[in-house]
C-alpha cells in the first residue's frame, strides 16, 4: 500500500517502449518495414516538414525520425533536434544567394509575366481534392509507369536550371529599397549557440521562424491576415528548389560546392510606410525561407517577418507584430514539451494548492459564522 502511484517507474517505462513498438509492427506477417527512401519520396511533404522543424539537413535521419515517431511531426522533429545537440559546429558557410537555386517551381502573384515565366511545378494548388480511389489498390506496374511516362514525354535539355529573381526587376524600377552594402561583414545570429535577449537582430527572428512549427507559424500569420494586423502581402516570388551550398576548400580556401539543400523561399511585398529622412517611399519586404518544400510555412514566415519589422520600428499593435509573442511561441519542440509535461506527477504542488484553498475556505467560513 501507499506510494503505488509512483513506484515501479523503471519497469513501467520499459513496458511503454515495447507496446509503442508493437503498434508500429503489428500489421501482418508479409508487411515490408518502411525504408528511409520510401519515406523521403512517398511522404515527401511530411519529410520536408520534419527536416525544416528539426533544423538539421539530414534527409536519411529525418526519414528515420518519422519512422520511429510513427509519423508524429513534433516527435520526429524533436528527435532530429536532440541529435543536433550532440554535433559540434565545425564551420560557417558564406551567405548563399538563392539566385543560384536549381528551381523546381517558382511563381509570382505580382505580375502575369515575370522574367523566365511562371513555372508551376509540383503543386496541389489547382487540383481537385477528390478521393483518388484508384490509389487504394495501386499495382506495381501502374506505380512505376508514372515516372517513366513523365520522363519520356519531357524534353529535359530544354529546361533552364534557374530563373532571375522577380525582386531584382522591382528593385531596378526603384519600387523597393536599395540593398545596403555594409562594408563590415554581417555575421548572422546563431540561435543554436547564443541566447536570444530581446530586442534581437532580424537574423535571429528569421532563424527562429525557419525552424518553427508550421501550424504555430500559420496560426499567428493568419491572425495578421484576418485583421489582427494589416500586412496585406503580395507574393512577389515563391520558389522551391535546390540551393547549392559552398564551403571554403580546406587547403586552397577557394569556395567549393559541397552539396545542395532543398528549400522553399518566399518574398512578399507590402505597402509603403512613411519614411524618415528624404528617401523616396518604396514598397516594404517580408522574407521567408525554410528547408524542404513547405509553401505554407514560407509564406507565413514572410508575412510575420514583415509584421515583426513593423512592430520593431513602431510599437507592436497586435500579437503578430510583437517579437516576444511570436518568437517565443512558435517552436514546436518547446511548446509540445511543455504541453506534455503536464502529464507528469504534480503531487507536491497540488498538495500545496490544497493547503492554500483550505486555509482560504477556513477563513471564509469563520467569517460567515460571525
Amino acid at each position: 500500500m501507499g506510494y503505488v502511484a509512483i513506484k515501479g517507474g523503471g519497469q513501467a517505462i520499459e513496458g511503454t517502449k515495447e507496446v509503442y513498438d508493437f503498434l508500429r509492427t503489428r500489421q501482418s506477417d508479409n508487411t515490408q518495414p518502411l525504408d528511409s527512401h520510401t519515406i523521403e519520396n512517398q511522404l515527401r511533404l511530411l519529410h520536408s516538414r520534419v527536416i525544416s522543424e528539426g533544423g538539421v539537413y539530414h534527409p536519411q535521419l529525418a526519414s528515420l525520425a518519422i519512422k520511429q515517431a510513427q509519423g508524429d511531426t513534433l516527435e520526429a522533429a524533436f528527435a532530429l533536434r536532440a541529435y543536433r545537440s550532440t554535433q559540434p559546429r565545425l564551420v560557417e558557410t558564406p551567405v548563399l544567394d538563392t539566385k543560384n537555386m536549381r528551381v523546381t517551381r517558382r511563381i509570382s502573384s505580382a505580375f502575369k509575366d515575370i522574367p523566365g515565366g511562371q513555372m508551376l511545378g509540383a503543386t496541389t494548388d489547382y487540383q481537385l481534392r477528390l478521393m483518388r480511389m484508384e490509389l487504394l489498390n495501386e499495382s506495381q506496374e501502374r506505380f512505376h509507369s508514372v515516372t517513366k511516362k513523365l520522363l519520356d514525354d519531357t524534353n529535359i535539355d530544354g529546361i533552364p536550371d534557374t530563373f532571375p529573381k522577380v525582386l531584382d526587376s522591382l528593385r531596378q524600377e526603384g519600387l523597393l529599397p536599395e540593398i545596403k552594402n555594409n562594408s563590415e561583414k554581417q555575421i548572422p545570429f546563431d540561435i543554436t549557440r547564443e541566447p536570444m535577449v530581446f530586442p534581437v537582430p532580424r537574423s535571429a527572428t528569421l532563424a527562429t521562424m525557419a525552424r518553427a512549427e508550421q501550424g504555430s507559424l500559420l496560426a499567428i500569420a493568419y491572425s495578421n491576415m484576418r485583421g489582427y494586423g494589416d500586412v496585406h502581402p503580395t507574393v512577389a516570388e515563391l520558389r522551391v528548389g535546390f540551393l547549392p551550398v559552398f564551403l571554403p576548400h580546406p587547403i586552397t580556401g577557394e569556395l567549393t560546392e559541397v552539396g545542395e539543400v532543398e528549400m522553399t523561399e518566399c518574398e512578399v511585398v507590402a505597402m509603403y510606410e512613411g519614411n524618415e529622412a528624404d528617401d523616396k517611399s518604396t514598397f516594404t519586404l517580408g522574407y521567408g525561407a525554410c528547408f524542404g518544400h513547405n509553401e505554407v510555412k514560407a509564406i507565413s514566415m514572410a508575412i510575420l517577418d514583415r509584421a515583426l519589422q513593423k512592430g520593431m520600428k513602431e510599437e507592436p499593435g497586435n500579437p503578430s507584430e510583437d517579437p516576444e509573442f511570436v518568437l517565443l511561441h512558435v517552436d514546436g519542440i518547446d511548446s509540445m514539451g511543455f504541453c506534455t509535461h503536464y502529464k507528469m506527477p504534480h503531487y507536491v504542488t497540488f498538495q500545496s494548492d490544497m493547503d492554500r484553498l483550505r486555509a482560504t475556505q477556513q477563513k471564509q467560513s469563520n467569517k460567515e459564522s460571525i
Partner: protein, 305 residues
Amino acid sequence: MGASNHFGFLDEYAKKEIRRTALKAVAIPGYQVPYSSREMPMGRGFGTGGLQLTLSLLGKGETLKVIDQGSDDSVNAVNLRSFIEMTCSGVNTTISTTEADVIQSRHRIPEKDLREDQLLVLQVPYPDPLIVVEASENKRKTLHGEADYSRLLVKLYEDIVKFDEITISHRYPTRINDHYVIDPSPIPRWDVPKLDQSPALVLLGAGREKKIYAVPPYTKAEPLAFEDVPFRVEDFTDKDGQRRRCQRCDCTTSFLDEFIDSKSGEKIYQCSDTDWCNEQSTNSSVMSDKEITADNIEIVEMANG
C-alpha cells in the same frame, strides 16, 4: 546512431557555455543568466534545464541522486537517472541524500540538511517570478535591474484583500541577497526556508526558457511577505491541532503527501521525501515491515542494466 557516445551527451562547447553561465549565476545571486540551451532527448518541461546543468557539472567518480516529487522512483526521476547513467560512464548513482555529491530534483528540496560539499540542481519551468504581473521579458528585465517588485507586492496585497490569505502555494517569490527576486521553482513553501543560508550551492536551470540562476552558499533567501502578514509554510495540523504524522515512519517534521487508502477509503499521510522516510523507518525499528528500500534498489539496478 543511438545516444551519443560522448561523455555527458552534449558537445564540449555546450558544456563549457553552461559552466560559464553557472559561474556568472553564482557571481550575481538570483540573476537569471540567459544561455543558448540545447535540445535534449527528453521533453522540454521534463527537466532539460536541470539535466544540462547536471551533465555539464558531473565528473567521473562522483555520485548523483535524482528525485522527482521527493521520490527516487518517480517515472521522470528514473528516466533522467538512466539517461545520465547511459551517457556518463564512471558516475555513480544513489538514492541516499547523504551519499550524493550532486542532487537533481523536481519540486522538492530534500528534508535532510545539505552540506557544503553538495550541489543541488533544481528543474525550473518558469524562471521569472514577475511573469504573473508582466508578460514581456524585455520589460521584466528592466524591473529586475531596478529591483522593482512593487507589482508583485501589490499582487500579494490584493490576495489578502480578496481572500484574507496569500494564495501563492508553490513557486513562492523569494528575494536573494537583498536584490533579485527569484522563482525558486515549484517547490512547496515548506522548502523555501531551506534556501536561506544554505551550505550547499543551489543551481536552478530552465531549459525551455533558456535561463540559469543560483542561490550561492550562505546567501540570504527571503520569501516576500509583509510585517503584519508573515510568510507561512504548508500547515499539516489536523482538526484537533495535532501535527499529522507519516503513517509509515511516524515523522512529524516532514512535508507530507496526502492520499486516499484504496482499501479503507481513509485519508492518509506519508513523507514526500522517500529517502528521509526510509531513514526514519530504519531508526525506529518497528517499521521494518514497511521498508521500501528493496524496491528502490531493484529499480536502480534495472537502470544500470
